[in-house]
């Protein structure tokens, strides 16, 4: 009997290893460590193969293993049974293009990957010219999934059109934003998809060398990616003359060292060159002068991961999802104080309410939702009154917020928003690379000003607004430039929290 127990870090964090070893001790059981479905609230989520499909159980602890095995073998109903996985509403309502294989395959099984549509995109790309591939990506309307939402096709075209003796493809896997974990799930759960996407980018632009820059806080992702690359090289999906063609592409994993700023693309380039992760001035654009001064494609994990589908099914098929200028799907990540946290891949246009109350089931604490931080530590705090906002780059921008990487951190009504605003400044001060003054000094002054306001000094309010304005327009990159968003949104939507400290003192 085959039992699937996820090897994803979130599943492990909730005891999947113990569950897997308990199953392995049983006679006649073969344990497969699959990827995670992304239903973190049901992890460790155990699945059995049945003639009708996979039958699921969760959340399972090692203590439940005996009884689950017994009742599953005798077709009895177990209290942790959720029935057939394919019938689960939570999954059925999603539109999984990038996460199509999540939970289904063994991440390091090349045959699983190929059996579930893997390398179809690369096979198509190998038959096309660079310009044809870039056109497919442009037609898809794909915009950078790392947060900045720059059209991927334009970026690739710039690299393609820039002549050079060497070009590079760099994957920004420095997923440091709190509330995001989709990159980690791709790397741990479907690493060949990222390899395929990056290889397509290399073939499209004429780059023969690639780097995956993974943060050190993701030890499992680093290990899985390294192993997957070795497997792909062995099977000639990477390396010289891929699958007997004249196309070559090699890939190396580089591990970060705990600096949030290295998620900024030019700081990442400096880090990849072995230097301090200092932000570079733009221009020159990395697409023209990037890694080691050569033309470089830099994309986020999710952007590369979307590419195999686009090449396999065509740019139009991808474009049919979404609305306005936000095309395709985004893997949203439900995090923080949420009852049913996890990964929800949906086309753009879904509302926050459908995500947080529908998929998420409200808060974990059972209290009222008060605020949601969308798009990481540099994203605005959205009040519960804006729950009907649609997830769309432009709709969010119009509200002074950002979709970013699709991470949603939910807070209940116990949150102190002045404390959250202070933290945003504190985080910026800790993580600033120090190159530009508005970020380096501004963040430190920002902490002090927030403290003054919390102490009841109303004269500090215009100073904070002015400081945020300086940071927003005077910073070199998004760290200093976007820290004002969480700060000012907290102040605008939750002004009472900023006078609370004063009242308490009186």
């Amino acid at each position: 009997m085959k039992v699937h127990v996820p090897r994803d870090s979130a599943a492990k964090a909730l005891g999947a290893d113990q569950v897997a070893s308990a199953f392995a001790k049983l006679d006649g059981v073969e344990v497969i460590r699959n990827s995670s479905r992304g239903m973190v609230w049901l992890e460790p989520f155990v699945e059995f193969d049945t003639p009708n499909g996979r039958a699921g159980y969760g959340p399972v602890t090692a203590k439940d293993v005996q009884s689950i095995f017994k009742s599953h073998s005798s077709n009895a109903k177990h209290k942790l049974s959720v029935g057939l996985v394919e019938d689960l509403e939570w999954l059925k309502k999603q539109e999984r293009l990038t996460f199509a294989r999540a939970g289904i395959t063994d991440p390091l099984s090349l045959s699983d990957y190929i059996a579930h549509g893997g390398f179809e995109g690369l096979k198509t790309a190998l038959k096309k010219s660079g310009a044809e591939i870039v056109k497919q990506v442009s037609d898809s309307g794909l915009r950078g999934r790392g947060g900045a939402a720059f059209p991927t096709g334009i970026k690739w075209k710039t690299v393609l059109d820039t002549a050079a003796d060497q070009k590079y493809v760099c994957c920004n896997a420095d997923e440091g934003d709190s509330g995001t974990f989709a990159d980690r799930m791709v790397m741990e759960g479907d690493p060949f998809m990222l390899i395929e996407g990056m290889t397509i980018a290399g073939i499209a632009t004429g780059a023969t060398k690639g780097f995956v820059y993974i943060r050190s806080e993701y030890p499992d992702a680093v290990a899985v990616m390294k192993e997957a690359i070795a497997i792909a090289v062995n099977a000639n999906w990477l390396g010289p003359n891929i699958q007997g063609t004249d196309k070559s592409f090699s890939l190396v994993v580089r591990t970060g060292a705990g600096a949030y700023i290295c998620g900024e693309e030019t700081a990442m380039l400096d880090s990849l060159e072995g230097k301090r992760g200092m932000v570079r001035f733009k221009p020159p654009l990395p697409a023209i002068e990037g890694l080691f001064g050569k033309p470089t494609v830099i994309n986020n994990v999710l952007s590369f991961a979307a590419v195999p589908f686009i090449l396999a099914k065509g740019g139009e098929a991808y474009k049919n999802y979404g609305l306005g200028r936000s095309r395709g799907t985004l893997p949203f990540q439900l995090a923080g104080n949420i009852k049913q946290g996890g990964l929800v891949e949906k086309a753009f246009g879904i509302t926050l309410r459908e995500l947080v109350e529908g998929f998420g089931g409200g808060t974990a604490s059972g209290r009222r939702v008060r605020a949601m931080q969308v798009g990481g530590p540099l994203g605005a705090y959205v009040p519960a009154s804006d729950l009907d906002l649609a997830m769309d780059y432009e709709a969010f921008a119009a509200k002074g917020a950002m979709v970013g990487h699709g991470g949603i951190v939910v807070f209940d009504d116990t949150v102190d928003m002045a404390e959250q605003a202070r933290f945003a400044m504190e985080f910026c001060a800790i993580e600033s690379c120090g190159k530009c003054t508005p970020c380096r000094i501004g963040a430190v002054r920002g902490i002090e000003v927030v403290d003054r306001i919390a102490d009841g000094d109303a004269s500090a309010l215009p100073i904070l607004a002015d400081l945020c304005n300086t940071m927003k327009f005077g910073s070199l990159c998004a760290l200093g430039g976007f820290t004002p968003y969480p700060v000012m949104s907290a102040l605008t939507h939750f002004p009472d929290d900023f006078s609370r400290a004063k009242e308490a003192a009186e």
Binding site: W41, S178, G179, R254, A257, Q333, D412
Partner: protein
């Protein structure tokens, strides 16, 4: 480890990476793995091998939060202090952890057993608050589970 051993280890690791300056981070990671920290004595050796100035190497070592100048305790616990974990009483967890271990974040217990560190995001945001115990992820941590995780450590 003696200073001579540290410099020998540094030279060997740099050589394994072809003395390439772009592999400096990888070299420092390996050095820390082997020596327990980025020892001061190793820096001039690496600088020379990579044809960099000592200042450049020092600049890199001090820029990144991961690199430590003194060896850590026998175990390292990294507690997430970012927003998602904050929304699930992460601040309280860190305070309890500091109280249980009788050490502030960044410090090592007197018996040298545990180094407690504060990190920003482990990507375990759907099961906050989270921590890494010697690179093993643990989710939905509270003071009680933290205490038993520490007790399990040798």
């Amino acid at each position: 480890m003696s200073e001579a051993n540290q410099t020998a280890a540094a030279a060997a690791i740099a050589a394994r990476h072809g003395n390439r300056p772009d592999e400096l981070l990888e070299i420092l990671h390996e050095l820390q793995e082997e020596l327990g920290c980025v020892a001061e004595a190793a820096l001039p050796v690496i600088a020379k091998a990579l044809n960099l100035s000592r200042a450049e190497v020092h600049g890199v070592v001090t820029f990144y939060h991961d690199f430590r100048r003194e060896p850590a305790g026998r175990h390292v616990i990294k507690i997430c202090a970012a927003e998602s974990c904050q929304s699930m009483k992460g601040r309280e967890l860190l305070a309890s952890a500091e109280k249980i271990l009788k050490v502030k974040a960044g410090g090592t217990t007197v018996d040298g057993k545990v180094t407690l560190e504060k990190v920003y995001c482990l990507g375990l945001c759907a099961c906050s608050p989270a921590m890494l115990v010697d690179n093993r992820p643990v989710g939905r941590v509270d003071a009680k589970t933290f205490k038993s995780a520490v007790a399990e450590l040798a």
